[in-house]
């Protein structure tokens, strides 16, 4: 029997954002492994599939995340190699800010197994809906906050900027939260591009089927002492209008007849 792997996401809001195709994959699989963000999410997944295995146990205080992810990938692939149809379930979108899902798919395919990822509702999808922002209007720059700080990026102040996971900035081990001085480093970096009175929004989607998103509006200058969690996202709206390119605008005009 040839094993297979299907990777699905739960969406952000517990239960109500699980797509029908993801639910079908989850219920029909021979083996289910899951990684839910909150205890309630893990409990719900165990309700759907009481025989499912949680990947959460691979996390441990002070353990390096790279080691944790390698163990998760191995745990997902082991039943695939035994010939089972496996469903791996991740919180949110399984392919957005999730390393082990992509690695498991890559290695399963490399070993000759069928491996598929199904799309799901991501935190970014919730953000656009909750904040009423259309990324198509100004363009959108989206970075994981630590990666943003560690790599030299050219920020376009005329486009929306989204920085994820500002609450675990520079934190390399599981279970630790960032300290205020690291958030100050991020603010310093942003103040090289924006003025201190630039609007900033601290956002968090509701992980429950009820409840409102958190959207706290402040300025970059006041961001240093803001309370943030691992789920907090920093949104910086566009500061200015993008400059028009008159040359290309002219070339795109239809020829006069």
């Amino acid at each position: 029997m040839a094993g297979s792997l299907t990777v699905v996401g739960t969406g952000i809001r517990l239960g109500v954002q699980l797509t029908p195709e993801a639910r079908t994959a989850l219920l029909r699989a021979d083996r289910v492994l899951h990684l839910g963000a909150e205890p309630l999410m893990r409990r719900w997944l165990s309700t759907l599939r009481p025989d499912a295995t949680s990947l959460h146990g691979f996390y441990a205080p002070g353990k390096r995340r790279g080691e944790t992810y390698r163990e998760m990938v191995e745990a997902i692939l082991a039943p695939v190699r035994q010939g089972y149809h496996v469903c791996a379930v991740f919180y949110g979108h399984p392919g957005v800010f999730v390393s082990p899902s992509h690695e498991a798919i890559r290695r399963a395919r490399s070993d000759g197994y069928d491996a598929t990822m199904l799309p799901a509702v991501s935190a970014e999808d919730c953000l656009f809906a909750d904040l009423g922002i259309d990324p198509g209007v100004t363009g959108c720059q989206s970075y994981e906050a630590t990666s943003f700080l560690l790599t030299k990026r050219t920020v376009d102040p005329a486009a929306l900027l989204i920085l994820w996971q500002v609450g675990v900035l520079g934190e390399w081990h599981h279970g630790r939260r960032t300290d205020a001085s690291r958030l100050a480093l991020l603010v310093d970096r942003l103040l090289t591009v924006y003025p201190a009175d630039q609007e900033a929004i601290l956002y968090e989607a509701s992980p429950y089927p009820v409840g409102d998103a958190i959207a706290e509006r402040t300025t970059l200058g006041r961001l240093g002492g803001a309370p943030v969690t691992a789920a907090t996202t920093l949104v910086v709206p566009p500061r200015e209008h993008a400059q028009s390119d008159a040359t290309l605008r002219g070339r795109l005009q239809p020829p006069r007849t």
Binding site: G15, L40, Q165, R177, G211
Partner: protein
């Protein structure tokens, strides 16, 4: 006779897992919570929409702490202090071999 209260976590899991209950809840939130024996204090938190307050109340039912959930490797994840590798060469940008085809507008209507 005292009513057996439904724990907040149980109610939220059922809302997420039972489309009929969720649909009914969106029409009549207070009525559904009353019928489902959700504790008045829990009802108040749910109706407030405050997810921080919801999380705080759920902590009373779950012993597991909320942990920083990161599921992504970042540059220098395996190093401490983090090391950022500079690319040796700039990325290659592929030029299209031929210019893109621009469709002419249909002039058939003018010809008629």
């Amino acid at each position: 006779m005292a009513t057996m209260r439904q724990p907040l976590g149980d109610f939220l899991v059922r809302l997420g897992d039972e489309p009929e209950l969720f649909e009914e809840y969106t029409r009549d939130r207070e009525g559904v919570m009353e019928r489902e024996a959700v504790a008045p204090a829990d009802r108040e938190v749910i109706l407030s929409g405050d997810i921080r307050a919801l999380r705080a109340r759920l902590r009373r039912e779950y012993s597991e702490p909320d942990e920083a959930m990161v599921v992504m490797e970042r540059p220098g994840e395996e190093e401490e202090p983090p090391t950022v590798m500079e690319p040796e060469e700039p990325p290659t940008v592929m030029e299209p071999e031929e210019p893109p085809v621009v469709m002419e507008p249909d002039k058939g209507a003018e010809a008629e």
